[in-house]
Symmetry: C2
Subunit: 199 residues, 2 copies
């Protein structure tokens, strides 16, 4: 026991946060105790209700405490017949922030990784298969990350979707806007050439 039991328990529990070790946890605990008790108490209750009540959306698998998330519950989002497949809720948010896409999402909550025991069922591909089978989708847009696992997952989903008469597309990879050609890696440049579009 370093301080009092409650303070020790707080410092210990704060270390469950990613990137927080004993020193940062101690600094966080003292900062909250000294300067922001109401913020700390609010964080405590937010944590407890989120941990117990937040589950997954019944349609797209993103995090929500309702049975359906607000995007899936919005009938306008189904009109385009487009379904965008992403790896995580953070990816979904990034695409929503861009404001370009108005269809619905399917969140894998990971990617295929057979060595870690993560197969098609673990990332919800059985449910995606059922969704595509109901015939209400025109296009599946694969927006998994451009990593080895992300590409393999996209490929697997493309093979699966081909059985359901839907268009299948992959988001474009190339030089990011604002980036300088000089500093872009070779693979990205090669993709930007192979994916060039007629003007």
């Amino acid at each position: 026991m370093k301080f009092s039991p409650l303070v020790d328990a707080l410092i210990q529990s704060l270390q469950c946060l990613p990137g927080v070790g004993p020193r940062s946890a101690q600094r966080m605990a003292f900062q909250l105790l000294e300067r922001d008790r109401s913020g700390g108490a609010k964080l405590g209750s937010a944590l407890q209700s989120a941990m117990s009540d937040v589950g997954h959306c019944g349609s797209c698998r993103t995090y929500t405490e309702e049975t359906q998330c607000r995007i899936c519950a919005n009938p306008k989002r189904a009109q385009s017949g487009q379904l965008c497949v992403v790896e995580s809720p953070a990816d979904l948010l990034a695409i929503e922030s861009a404001g370009q896409f108005d269809g619905r999402y399917f969140v894998l909550m990971g990617h295929l990784s057979p060595l870690d025991g993560i197969g098609p069922d673990e990332i919800g591909l059985d449910r995606l298969d059922q969704m595509l089978a109901d015939g209400s989708w025109q296009e599946v847009i694969l927006a998994t990350n451009p990593t080895v696992e992300g590409e393999a997952t996209a490929q697997y989903i493309a093979d699966m979707a081909r059985q359901h008469q839907v268009a299948i597309s992959r988001i474009a990879h190339g030089v990011p806007v604002g980036g300088e050609l000089e500093y872009v890696d070779g693979t990205t440049l090669a993709l930007s050439f192979s994916g060039r579009q007629k003007l």
Copy 2:
């Protein structure tokens, strides 16, 4: 609203932690939701009980949920008649970890800083004055930080303690063990010369 209300509230509340911005808060929230719900719930209850129950020790002012902290409550720690004055509970812990000192502490919870409105009463010097007046102390060891504010605070406390017939000492400043002379700054080297001891 970016995600669902509970998830948004969690991401928002996490930003009261020092050094945590919107991105880190999002990463922490998803990490807890995905991989460590029990840890998150435990952190929630630890936060709530610490924020509501932890106060200050009636003698030394460090954090504790009891009326006295375990050091002040231990009669053996009063035997030496030594009182070590530190700026923060983290400093107290550092000295305790060194295992050298077996007296009691007085934690200022800050340092004198007139421009920020922090005067003697804000750092509990009125109570320290009362403690020293009861005549049970032989020595006051000033272990404030070697910064401008820390030195000024030490000087102020030394002046105050002189009225109470106690020995007053300041911890030694000099080259840290394991440090290389080559890389030690000039002020520290000067202090290590002026504070040299006979062998």
